[in-house]
């Protein structure tokens, strides 16, 4: 059996799955329940200054029948009294000495930071997470993302915290910034032990078409909120990767953003995270999802021969390059598996209207055909095909040549004019513009009218 336990910048936990600082970690009751269910750690709902929340706090993005592929909130940090939170942290730590309890903190002045760090230390917290991420409500008061977006202020506050902290300090970064490595570097300069990312992304998840107001609606009005859930994973992964690949940051990373199952967690880990945090998925499905996450992770590690989480941290990083370092000699071509094809022709219309007119239809069959010379290997058809493994992208180059844009640039082998033979797309066939006319018009007709052409009506047979 692989060992799932981790030591994250000095914080130990039985597995890498932590609950992110958010409503699921709002109370000792919830955290104990989560640990009982199998979670390895919890970052307590952010402690700090007194706040007041509004009613109507969350908005969701649904895709067709899938609920909450994206989620947003306009909630603030913990609105429970600090003393209650501290007492419950102490209680949880007594019951679960081997689980990680991290105090998430957000205050303003140096003195306040010193006080709250000391208090949570005394309560038994295993570490701190400085919330420089919240993109609404707190930033207006000079906290949260207002700090995360100012590397200098961020560094100063980290320094204040380091003056009194005796436990590891994690800095939680906001993604509402153009280069995530800048605040990460500031955290490093300030002496932080680790970083966690991402916090929520500033967003409007939707507009009520009748009330003309953004969700969530508070008395007819709304405001921008923080976006999270499955939809933000790609953004989180890229930012995790940027921090992990940066030569100078060199801090352990707690990956957050869109993690719902073991697969999402492994992706974060392969790109450099050594612990992962979950919020939306726990809010959507409850703490029970941890069983699938741990068992899936374990299974994967067994299959890949990884003994510890550390064995896999950053495994994909060497394969994430800059565009200019990709092999331009590599070529794939779409291939339709006729036996699997169900004839929906989504690939045809996708390539025809959205790509390179490299798929054609033939009379007498609904199985489309790839025009190999025209296929640029963009993958679109294989992405829209509803049948698993029906369209595969097959390698068609010899696999022996390797040439990158960078190498070509260095060798002076790049096109500088469109007439240049070396320029891309030169010999790629595209139909005459006017050939498009009339192709789709019949579809605007109602009912039978669209079938007129070439269709004769045969009287049905009388009943026996």
């Amino acid at each position: 059996m692989p060992d799932l336990s981790i030591n994250f910048a000095g914080i130990k936990s039985p597995n890498p799955f932590w609950l992110a600082s958010a409503p699921p970690t709002n109370s000792g009751y919830q955290v104990m329940k989560a640990f009982d269910a199998g979670w390895g750690g919890a970052v307590w709902k952010t402690l700090g200054v007194p706040v007041v929340n509004v009613s109507s706090r969350y908005g969701g993005v649904n895709y067709r029948d899938k609920r909450l592929v994206g989620f947003n909130n306009i909630e603030l940090i913990s609105d429970r009294p600090l003393s209650h939170n501290l007492r419950e942290i102490e209680e949880v730590k007594k019951r679960f000495p081997n689980h990680a309890v991290i105090a998430s903190l957000m205050v303003q002045s140096r003195q306040e930071w010193h006080d709250i760090v000391r208090q949570s230390q005394d309560a038994g917290a295993d570490g701190f997470e400085l919330n420089f991420g919240c993109p609404h409500g707190m930033c207006e008061r000079g906290m949260g993302s207002a700090v995360g977006q100012e590397p200098k202020v961020l560094q100063m506050i980290v320094e204040w915290v380091m003056e009194v902290a005796q436990k590891p300090v994690i800095v939680k970064l906001t993604p509402n910034i153009s280069d995530i490595t800048e605040p990460a570097m500031a955290a490093r300069r300030g002496g932080a032990d680790a970083i966690s990312l991402i916090n929520t992304i500033q967003s409007i998840v939707g507009v009520d078409l009748d009330k003309f107001a953004p969700y969530p609606i508070v008395d007819g009005k709304g405001t921008n909120g923080g976006y999270c859930g499955p939809a933000v994973k790609p953004i989180a992964l890229n930012m995790v990767k940027n921090c992990a690949q940066h030569p100078d940051i060199k801090l352990p990373i707690s990956g957050i953003g869109g993690i719902e199952n073991w697969r999402d967690a492994v992706e974060h880990i392969l790109l450099g995270a050594s612990s992962v945090q979950v919020c939306t998925a726990a809010m959507h499905f409850g703490f029970g999802i941890i069983r699938e996450m741990t068992s899936g992770l374990e299974q994967y590690m067994v299959e890949k021969g990884f003994n510890t989480i550390n064995d896999m941290v950053g495994k994909a990083l060497p394969n994430v390059l800059h565009w200019e370092d990709l092999n331009m000699k590599y070529k794939v071509t779409a291939n339709i598996n006729e036996d699997k094809c169900i004839g929906c022709q989504l690939c045809y219309t996708a390539c025809e209207d959205g790509a390179h007119q490299a798929i054609k239809l033939n009379a007498g069959t609904r199985v489309p055909e790839i025009i190999e010379e025209n296929c640029v290997g963009c993958n679109l058809c294989s992405l829209v095909c509803p049948v698993e493994q029906c369209i595969t992208m097959e390698q068609t180059d010899s696999g022996t040549q390797h040439l990158t844009w960078k190498e070509r640039t260095e060798a002076g082998d790049i096109p500088t004019k469109f007439e240049d033979e070396k320029a891309g797309g030169r010999h790629h066939w595209v139909p005459e513009p006017a050939a498009a006319l009339g192709k789709e018009r019949h579809k605007t007709l109602p009912g039978k009218a669209r079938l007129y052409s070439g269709e004769t009506q045969v009287p049905a047979q009388a009943e026996a």
């Binding site: 029948d65 239809l361 009912g447 039978k448 009506q457 009287p459 009388a462 009943e463 026996a464």
Partner: protein, 441 residues
């Protein structure tokens, strides 16, 4: 033991005849519409005799535009709601859905269609209206799917339309023939009321056109006459004993059933003669009315039945048993039906042959003849110059519906010989366009 106990109240009737395709709620419609792939040049559209743009209306449901979905459906088929419930979707749109090729359940197109149109009907949403009055008038004979569809389209084109219907209710066999577990009378009539409110044609009920004099009046008063008269009574078998009490035609039996529900009595042991869809319906219905045994007797082998496989499965599912390769020779009994004398048959070179000396009597107390509907040849002979084909079907141009008497146009069962509601609706819409082209010349 009977599968069903005899219903004695409207509620028990509704339970025995529970809807096969109940109307979806919004959640189910959202989930089901989400599965549609939005195929290019979708095969389901091609398989729909009325050519409804199925992926379009499913997408409209999915994006919360149920009204737009209803419009898409009605633009192609005025019986959109009824069709969603009564169409043999298994062999039409749903049978063509690409999911079948993946052995995944096809999209429930019919139920989605009823969902959107039911919403429009219940809300009374005004989707269509009559066109600007063009001063011309058309008489429509028969308020069935063909007649009503023609009336709607003609009104949209600006014609004055009077519909003459022999019976007391509109929709033809939709309310007098289709099995009660496919659609309720309320649903059928709600769509009829909705259409009439939208298009404003006149319907004269209990107004059979049956004489040359009446036809002549119509010819004088109207610019064109549309024949949507459907088919007639159940064919006579010409067997001894056919006049015995409790020997009835399927169409007549079902019409009673649709109107009087649990008040219709069925025998304890019923024999249904025939192998078409109507036979399957009559057998299923007898069983649901509480008959102890229902035998389906067919002259040929099981595989040769004209009925759709799913209709036979439906009948089997409610306890109906099949008796194949038997031909009825006599209805026995003394005043009342007491049995059917059969002779066994075999099929040789495609021909049914009786096996001499193989007669036997199967006792029963009710016989339902589902041996096809007669054509209305007698009535049609009153129309000068109107030609019929060898099977008694009106001959008419497939695109315009114009008959050999240029003033008369025809669609539906009377023209196609007996198909489905959807065929009648689609043909009549086309024919209305044919009338328009003729009268605009």
């Amino acid at each position: 033991m009977a599968e069903f106990s005899t219903p004695t109240t409207e509620q028990q009737f509704a339970e025995n005849f529970a809807q096969l395709k109940p109307v979806m709620n919004r959640t189910e419609a959202l989930y089901e519409s989400s599965r549609c792939l939005f195929c290019f040049d979708a095969p389901c559209i091609k398989a729909c005799p009325s050519g409804i743009d199925i992926p379009q209306f499913i997408r409209q449901i999915n994006s919360g535009n149920d009204t737009g979905a209803a419009r898409t459906i009605y633009e192609a088929n005025y019986f959109g709601n009824a069709c969603g419930k009564v169409c043999p979707t298994e062999v039409l749109c749903e049978g063509a859905c690409v999911y079948n090729l993946q052995e995944v359940k096809p999209i429930e197109i019919g139920r989605l269609q009823s969902y959107a149109t039911t919403k429009a009907i219940n809300s009374g949403k005004h989707l269509f209206g009559s066109g600007a009055d063009n001063g011309k008038k058309v008489a429509v004979i028969g308020a069935g799917p063909a007649g009503i569809s023609a009336a709607c389209e003609l009104r949209a084109l600006g014609y004055g339309v009077d519909v003459f219907e022999a019976k007391a209710q509109p929709s033809g066999l939709t309310v007098y023939g289709v099995a009660p577990y496919k659609i309720t009378n309320e649903e059928t009539l709600a769509e009829m009321a909705y259409l009439q409110a939208q298009f404003g044609y006149n319907v004269h009920f209990n107004s059979a056109i049956s004489s040359r004099a009446e036809l002549k009046k119509l010819e004088e008063k109207y610019d064109a006459i549309f024949l949507g008269i459907g088919l007639g009574k159940t064919n006579e078998l010409g067997l001894p004993g056919e006049d015995k009490i409790n020997c009835t035609g399927a169409v007549e039996f079902i019409a009673e059933l649709r109107q009087h529900h649990h008040e219709v009595a069925v025998g304890r042991k019923v024999i249904v003669l025939g192998g078409g869809n109507t036979a399957m319906d009559a057998a299923s219905e007898s069983s649901r009315l509480g008959a102890e045994t229902v035998l389906l007797a067919y002259r040929r082998a099981k595989e040769e039945m004209g009925a759709y496989e799913f209709e036979y499965d439906l009948a089997k599912g409610v306890g109906v048993r099949g008796l194949f390769n038997v031909a009825p020779v006599e209805i026995t009994g003394n005043g009342y039906v007491a049995g059917v004398k059969f002779i066994r048959t075999e099929t040789k070179d495609g021909k049914v042959q009786e096996i001499a000396g193989s007669e036997f009597v199967e006792p029963c107390d009710m016989v339902i003849k589902a041996t096809g509907q007669a054509k209305q040849t007698e009535f049609l002979s009153l129309i000068p110059g109107l030609k019929l084909d060898g099977k008694g079907r009106i001959l008419a141009n497939a695109h315009t519906g114009q008959t050999s008497n240029p003033k008369y146009f025809a669609s539906g069962d009377a023209w196609n010989g007996g198909a489905e509601v959807v065929n009648a609706a689609a043909e009549a819409k086309l024919t209305a366009r044919g009338i328009h082209a003729y009268l605009s010349k």
